[in-house]
Point group: C2
Chain length 336, copies 2
Amino acid sequence: MVTIYDVAKLAGVSAATVSRVVNGRSSVDAGLAARVQQAMAELDYRPNAVARNLRRQKTSIWAVIISDIGNPFFTSLVRGVEDVGQAAGYSVVLCNSDEDPAKEARYVAAALAEQMAGVIISSTGKAANLSRLVDAGTPVVAIDREVRAAAVDTVLVDNAHGADLATSHLAEQGYRRIACITGPRRLPTAQRRLQGYRAALTAYRLEPDDNLVRYGDYREEGGYQAMASILDSGAAPDAVFAANNLMTVGALECLVDRGITVPAQMGVVGFDDIPWAHLVRPSLSTVVQPTYELGRTAALLLVERIAEPTRPLSTVTLRTELKIRDSSAPREQRFR
Amino acid sequence: MVTIYDVAKLAGVSAATVSRVVNGRSSVDAGLAARVQQAMAELDYRPNAVARNLRRQKTSIWAVIISDIGNPFFTSLVRGVEDVGQAAGYSVVLCNSDEDPAKEARYVAAALAEQMAGVIISSTGKAANLSRLVDAGTPVVAIDREVRAAAVDTVLVDNAHGADLATSHLAEQGYRRIACITGPRRLPTAQRRLQGYRAALTAYRLEPDDNLVRYGDYREEGGYQAMASILDSGAAPDAVFAANNLMTVGALECLVDRGITVPAQMGVVGFDDIPWAHLVRPSLSTVVQPTYELGRTAALLLVERIAEPTRPLSTVTLRTELKIRDSSAPREQRFR
DNA sequence: GACCCGTGGTCACCATCTACGACGTCGCCA
DNA sequence: TGGCGACGTCGTAGATGGTGACCACGGGTC
């Protein structure tokens, strides 16, 4: 490995001068600087980031800890983070916790041990993981999922409102027995989306029925199971609102398997878009989240938090939007 | 930050002893070890990985550099890498090059500077990036895409064979004017898949026609454009083989927009599965790659390479499999 | 009494950064 | 013109946290 001393020796200066040239922090005589530059080029010198990190007590890497790499929700979110991060001089690496608090804890520990410059995290819900970062002084931004017990900047979408939109839309289309498949109980997004669903029922004077509600796991399998369970319960839904994209897919699969046609026999609206939603037949109505913007916003917050660690906490809530496609076609056209 | 010295002072031992307890390398008296453990717990001591990395001259992190985080192909591949990596004591972080050699170079530079323990990379094609890693002694495994000019272990799928399978299948189903949308010219996977397509044409005595071939960008947009271009050229295809999943989706969209029905007017087979392929109507026939296994195999090779840096290079080629669904239904049923 | 082994401390080292001080030059003023 | 202060530039030295080679010590064994 070529070190700063090798460069210094070749250029006939001290290591400190080479360091100054590399970092451009302090003024160095132009002639000397040129000699150093040449020596660096000649030796193909690359500063050792590990040593630099140790000395500076921080790195120039951000960790983005996401809860499910298989969920396309995160891909454009990550792009948003990356674009801002790169522009600000950071490398962005991704860690996949797979909804497993233990795996999340591992990555949090790694981020701490490696002294990452910042962390953006979609938490599995364990506040302790976040607090550990905050206590160590690592700048953190929570994304998609708020963590009440931890004092961190947060970027959310208006989950309740989006769910309300979706459910209201179904109600307006004439559906009367609207089921809801929400996410894991412990996740605030699941709670909020359920709230929004219930608010819409109330607004449209539809009878709430616990037999129409299930808690899934935010994955395809869970959506399938929940849909099957609702159907088997005899609750006789005529529509379903699924609280995330993968569960919507799972629910659809279940409906296909049971020979239930959408939307003729069952209206469907999902929360969060899926790629190729328009290729799926029938095309899926969904609550669309501004995923890229979510990532961007989180990254901007992180930049600000790094620049000013003591600034007051902020929570940014972004708007969702209902995208109406075929799976929630008006019921009255067929049955009234 | 709690350092090893703080722990040492509290436990009344030297820092070296604490280090020994932490790493369990050398024998330490049980009583002392217990005191050290207690002191560590009391202070919530976490070893500084940066300092350790500097001293040891390597980290315990793997970087997986992928070319498109939006492509679901990579998600299960990454899971395969992670499962093996975690088991072997490594943390796995993801870097997204977005098919941009400059971004790839950035991440390679970061992996070098941070002295990553190993790198698994799906290269954009710039051999220089790989060689830089190899020259610096970083263990590297190329995945999905071979890089001829670089001396690295490689894990591939039988691209030509898979493309041959897909094209032959279309031919057997009675399609005669089979188009091909392959990937960027510079990528070996694109070349191999085109080879396989041509081999199948030859085998079935179908006339090759350059008007039926396009080079896309492995993204949705490129698939759309390529499909449109083929249709506009007057080449009159009756089927199309698209050389990756996202381009297949793009091609389908184009067909939908033009009112061309699949498979009645156009048979379609894609390379690499997409999630929810069975929900898309018509359901998509695809060449399925063993993505999880790809990741797993690459990770295992990396482990071996780390253990034995001088072992001879190996290339593992995994089998693909044709999954027949509705988009390639027999042509003769309708037209003969 | 010599040797060995288990145990634990000392110290050099990893590559880089930076506070501090030294040195030289320049300008200003007497 | 000489002296002094200011400033720019550069080197020295210590610091960053942890590791491991080496050494010292003490007790046991032959």
